[in-house]
């Protein structure tokens, strides 16, 4: 049994081996993009919203509301990033109940890639919000001594993001596969339902943590201090 879909080579193009992780990722991307295109292709301001458009509006506004609760200020760019993270992970995890589908999030390469994306996005959003000097100054807060610890903390939270998602999804798939061999009917169904719930929760956790990291990097220190004084 392959623990990761990385080892499954689907096809090779010009010497580059395209594994199942990438293929299933493309599949998830196609589902998301195709679904969004189908639902929004006839979207015009003068046309009353139909049920699909209403569903999308509910989803997008729910994500935006969650981000607005965490991050201060304009949240549109964070929405594009964190919302895509949530929708991608959620779709990948939900599609894992489809027989034959291997969730890309069950690959450490995918979760590592997403964690790296978050690791890169956090300083980009931070610099965009505070400027380069302002952002770099956060690494030496409250003193220069904290610089290595802050760097280690930055890397470790990326690692924890990647490992947590990978471990949860991969373990769910592996446990379901094992139970399928032991008790072919009841327990796999139960575990699939559990992994579905776990997948939804993990998608939420990954996206919320990414938003928290971005929010902490973009937060105005003076406003944070003021809020802290008020709360105290």
């Amino acid at each position: 049994m392959d623990l990761t879909p990385d080892s499954i080579i689907v096809f090779t193009v010009g010497g580059v081996r395209v594994n199942a992780t990438i293929v299933y990722t493309w599949l998830v991307m196609a589902v998301l993009t195709g679904g969004a295109w189908l639902m929004t292709r006839n979207l015009r301001p003068d046309v009353p919203p139909n049920r699909w458009r209403t569903l999308l509006e509910v989803i997008v506004q729910a994500i935006e509301g969650q981000i607005a609760e965490i991050a201060e200020g304009p949240a549109r760019h964070v929405l594009y990033f964190s919302g895509t993270l949530f929708l991608f992970i959620l779709t990948s995890n939900v599609l894992s109940v489809v027989p034959g589908f291997r969730a890309p999030t069950g690959s450490l390469s995918t979760t590592a890639g997403l964690a790296l994306a978050v690791l890169v996005a956090v300083p980009i959003f931070g610099i965009g919000s505070r400027g380069l000097t302002g952002y770099l100054r956060t690494y030496v807060q409250p003193s220069w001594i904290m610089l290595p610890f802050n760097i280690i903390g930055e890397i470790s939270r990326g690692l924890s993001l990647a490992i947590r998602l990978y471990g949860n999804i991969m373990s769910g798939a592996v446990i379901a596969a094992i139970l399928l061999g032991v008790a072919p009917l009841f327990f796999p169904v139960l575990m699939s339902m559990l992994s579905l719930l776990t997948g939804v929760i993990q998608a939420y956790i990954f996206a919320v943590l990414a938003t928290v990291y971005i929010a902490s990097a973009t937060a105005d220190p003076t406003r944070t201090a003021t809020k802290g004084e008020k709360s105290s």
Partner: protein, 256 residues
């Protein structure tokens, strides 16, 4: 558990592409639609607010205009009432004046009618009295009214002789007027009586059909007459006295 860095790089790329794709096909259309709808709602709310403000202003203007109209209506009503009152009083005055005029005309007509009636009554009374007197004289004394009248004239001249003499000294002519012409015998008798009592005065006889039966003697401004009218007037005065006395007694009894 291993990491394929090529796959990592591919997944980062895939993720970034997915971010762009979802931004293009999901977030933008949905958020633009929401923004457009919010803008439309805001515009509609603003329009509703504007219409509401305009309606409030219109309401206030209408209330103001209504108050003015109410005030004008009150003034018009007061003016109308005053004019109606004036007109009513004017009509009452005119009606009263007209009524008074009609009463006056009616009273005048009634008075004239009464006078005509009294005249007619006097005339008929005089005729009746004359006829009765003639008949009584003829049946009881075998005399005519004119003979008795001439005899009576002689006595009456005696009663007013002094006054007639004074008048005769100025006028020098006595005119004797009767309704019907006297006979020559009566004229002669009367001429003798007057010549005896008023000597030197010329005598002239005249007749007047409009005069009451009797004899009227005029010297200058003095007039002495004995006509039936005189008696009729006395009779009317007596009747009136009787009526007045009876009315007085009746009123006294009513009061009691």
């Amino acid at each position: 558990m291993s990491i394929d860095w090529v796959t990592v790089a591919a997944q980062i790329g895939n993720f970034l592409i997915l971010v762009w794709l979802l931004k293009r096909f999901l977030y933008r259309p949905i958020l633009d639609g929401i923004d457009a709808r919010e803008a439309e709602i805001t515009a509609r709310m603003g329009e509703a607010q504007r219409i509401g403000d305009a309606a409030e202003a219109e309401k206030a203007a209408f209330a103001k205009r209504l108050a003015v109209l109410e005030s004008e209506r009150s003034d018009v009503l007061d003016t109308g009432r005053a004019e109606a009152q004036d007109l009513r009083e004017k009509m009452i005055r005119e009606t009263r004046a007209q009524l008074a005029a009609e009463r006056e005309v009616f009273a005048r007509d009634r008075k004239a009618q009464a006078e005509r009636y009294a005249t007619a009554l006097e005339k008929s009374g005089a005729e009746a009295l004359l006829a009765l007197t003639r008949r009584a004289l003829m049946e009881l004394a075998d005399e005519t009214f004119e003979e008795r009248l001439v005899i009576h004239a002689g006595r009456q001249i005696d009663a007013s002789r002094q006054e007639l003499l004074e008048a005769a000294s100025v006028a020098k002519e006595i005119v004797v007027t009767t309704r019907d012409s006297l006979s020559d015998a009566l004229r002669s008798t009367l001429t003798d009586q007057i010549a005896e009592r008023l000597p030197g005065v010329a005598l002239r006889f005249a007749s007047d059909p409009a005069q009451s039966p009797g004899l009227v003697l005029r010297i200058g401004g003095v007039r002495v007459g004995w006509t039936v009218d005189t008696y009729v007037e006395e009779l009317a005065a007596m009747v009136e006295d009787q009526i007045t006395e009876k009315s007085h007694k009746k009123a006294v009894n009513d009061v009691r």
